[in-house]
Symmetry: C2
Subunit: 311 residues, 2 copies
Amino acid sequence: MDASAFEYFHAVARTGSISRASVELGMEPSTVTRHIARLEQDAGVKLFHRSGRGMLLTDAGALLLQEAGKVVDTLQHARRVAADLAAGGPSQIVVAAQPTIVKVCFAAMAHALRSRYPRARVRVIEGSAHELVSWLHQGKVDAALLYVPHLAQGHAGGEVLLREPLHCIFPAVQPAPPGPVTVPAALELPLILPSTSHGLRALAESWAQRHGKSLDVVLECDGSTSMTRRMVQAGLGCTILPLASVEEEVGRGLLQAVRIEGPEALRSVVLATAQNRPPVTGLLDITHLLRDTVFQLVDAGRWPGVDRRTA
Amino acid sequence: MDASAFEYFHAVARTGSISRASVELGMEPSTVTRHIARLEQDAGVKLFHRSGRGMLLTDAGALLLQEAGKVVDTLQHARRVAADLAAGGPSQIVVAAQPTIVKVCFAAMAHALRSRYPRARVRVIEGSAHELVSWLHQGKVDAALLYVPHLAQGHAGGEVLLREPLHCIFPAVQPAPPGPVTVPAALELPLILPSTSHGLRALAESWAQRHGKSLDVVLECDGSTSMTRRMVQAGLGCTILPLASVEEEVGRGLLQAVRIEGPEALRSVVLATAQNRPPVTGLLDITHLLRDTVFQLVDAGRWPGVDRRTA
DNA sequence: TTACTTTACGCGAAGCGTAACAATT
DNA sequence: AATTGTTACGCTTCGCGTAAAGTAA
């Protein structure tokens, strides 16, 4: 029973159709049919229910898919290591980060990675914190930059690169305090925040609990922070964000940002790598490069709101 | 890059020679050579140092072997699941146990497994407790019967089948106490025991510590317990074993066995399965069968020194 | 010399694509 | 009718084994 049979099977099960799998695999549908037919003959059971609309896994098929998935993953890793050997260094580098971080430093990072590893395929992905840890765990990304909500760092194998102060974001039309505000003062404001399970919302909730207040959430706004920014610009309320997220709007006078005081208003940016998986070739080099890039950005004043003192 | 390439590579690296790998793989040496040569070409580096005596991994080869090993393991599991599907039940059953347990009940177990799963390949392996947990973790065995030293059960996903009392084993020439002895009394005896890291030795050490005594170990005897038995027969000292290990010699008057009193002199026999790995087809059935076999042996009085009361 | 790996060569089989067919919606 | 899966057929290619050559101990 050849390993490629499991790969074909995996593709068909995932796409739910022979024709879709065939284009993904770059071969003719008839070939895929033959492979599936042979696998079913070898296994002695039907792995799919056939219908005019596609292929649906049977119970036995679902069982075998578990194993097929592992085979595909393992093979992919092995091939990648071989490719790394051939390239004399990493042949593929995948870095992910949360949107704000992407905005600030992924241009510089992509540039640094490309010039350091010209022969490697460099991929950058944007995702939520939850997605990032999941991707790390699955080995889909090599390194990730993410916010750790408060002082709860050390949960994963991450190195704290810097601490970024959070700001209260006001509409341009509303008079904002001239200097930094305290956390309790921020909690008095009508806020536009993401719904639960988002890092910033969880942080705000923990502030409210600690100071014995309740949040005045006038609007829940999920998705990209640009939507939240537009809501604040429209004067519906204030929000809490790092300065980097709104630097441009602040510069153009569309929004006002006031720093929130105190250590609880600091979010750590950590550089995380997968601990459970074997490190990719040159991962240590890569993390060094990413770290240096971040520090250079901060030193050049290109990370709004962050300097060496806060970091 | 085909998965079979990794399998061939794995075989060559493991055996250290193309010719040995070729017989293991059931093919001609020239074929294996071609596969390795192509893999090296794809990887762009030499994976082996060639010498007139065989093949030795390079650094790059060692790196790739890590991945190749995972590929081989994963593929093996996937093929097995497929074979289970084809057989309509488990196609292979691997059960392991510590030597004494093997001696007492593996004949009955092998018989029960063969009659329950006539189409399956049944394998039984004997090994030390340390090896057993390692094999379970690696997925090399489906179920294992092993002794848990004292009352520290529950560490792994194991079910306690019974508790077996330990005995003091005396030479035939030496007058032995007529009835059960206490743990402190046993600790006074000159003992022949395995060296550290063996379960029985660790148990004896813990007794000594708890009763504030020190062991009088006249001889350390590693390997099979039959060596220990011969040493006791020769009159060099006493030892501590379950009755099942020495039943035959006791019956022939070559040794004397005296039960040790108290709950601390009981060893639990646990039926363990791998928790970290997906269960094999019908594993639940198999464990049921093994459990019933043990209980039937005990009820029939075929497990020396154990009855329903101690169990 | 001996044991092992590698190359050359010819053959056979396995797998692919094209194209026609069948079945479900 | 349209989309999708399956079967038939001819062909190419890939990989195996045999046999000879090369190479280190």
